[in-house]
Symmetry: C2
Subunit: 206 residues, 2 copies
């Protein structure tokens, strides 16, 4: 393929820039207000883009919600990859993941977990959360791999436990408006992770 | 005070009956759809009461949401009292509470925790969850009393942990549409509770 002429390149770059601004605005607005209380007009205003132009990129609010889920997933994968590069030890990786959640204690105490609160709302839809379920599956699968690397036969259960503790703590922090709750839970989870030794496969059953 | 004449008594009984039907319908509808997606017309229809009559009992959706929160609180207090009567041992009470959540695994896998998903939605309101925060405070305070009775100086942290595990598990069960997830977590929480011994006050600090 030959390169497009310069004018077309700029046009494509502007299109991409506007779409990215809309998605970033949608991520913020939906996090702050929830899906149902957010209108396309809210998102257009937050992005500083005329409402009429929004329809060029997204026909329906569902299309925007799908793009928001994809943006969250992309961020989550990047964050997990960064944790993996920073730490070789699976135990330290798990601690680091929880600590990074706790580092967002202020905003979580105000609006909850960005991914968890989105799933909570979408879970009630007749068709269920759809692709948004990946927002929880991805960190659970990642945590399972870390516990497996620690030699635990019950890695799946432990992964469910650690992600459930984070999600539950995020809800409690936000309902009680307590930004320190996640930091306290993070310290307790780190202490718990230190007690986790290898469990042989035959010991892993119930 | 003298008793009201019979006709007035029946009238009051009918009023109370209609209000109770409306609140019960609101509890169900809001649980299934969320606050924002529920209209007064939905609630009237579910209660089999003409919409015009609803305004006699509730002027706004906020009034109904407040009544729904009170109904949940009343149910939660009755449930905790029943657990206390059924078991003298605080450890068994905590296990029984979690098991009773797990007993609702099917509906939680479909709609989430009735109280937790309501808080998640209300937490995003500019004024916060308001009285709905009691829906989490009441079980946390109750669990804290049980851990205190077990002699634990870190009873508050343990109470946060057990309620966070339940709330997080409820979210995971619903997002993954896995009705058995809560039963597995309940068994694991029971095993964890069995390892909880008394911790002297001086050992309770971080």
């Amino acid at each position: 393929m030959t390169a497009p002429p310069l004018a077309a390149t700029s046009f494509l770059a502007t299109r991409r820039g506007k779409r990215e601004r809309l998605v970033a605005a949608a991520v913020e607005t939906i996090y702050a207000r929830g899906v149902e209380r957010t209108t396309l007009a809210d998102i257009a205003a937050a992005a500083g883009i005329p409402l009429g132009n929004v329809y060029y990129y997204f026909k329906t609010k569902n299309d925007i919600v799908r793009a928001v889920v994809e943006a969250h997933l992309s961020d989550a994968r990047a964050m997990l990859a960064a944790v993996e590069s920073a730490h070789d030890d699976p135990r330290e990786r798990l601690k680091s993941l929880f600590a990074s959640f706790a580092g967002q204690g202020e905003q979580i105490a105000r609006y909850g977990c960005p991914q968890g609160s989105l799933c909570t709302e979408l879970d009630k839809l007749p068709d269920g959360p759809g692709p948004a379920a990946e927002l929880l599956k991805v960190p659970i699968d990642w945590a399972e791999r870390q516990f497996s690397a620690l030699g635990r036969a019950d890695a799946r259960d432990l992964a469910i436990e650690v992600i459930a503790r984070y999600q539950g703590s995020a809800l409690l922090a936000s309902t009680l408006r307590d930004p320190d709750l996640l930091a306290r839970e993070s310290a307790r989870v780190a202490a718990w992770l230190d007690t986790i030794g290898a469990l042989a496969a035959e010991g892993g059953g119930a």
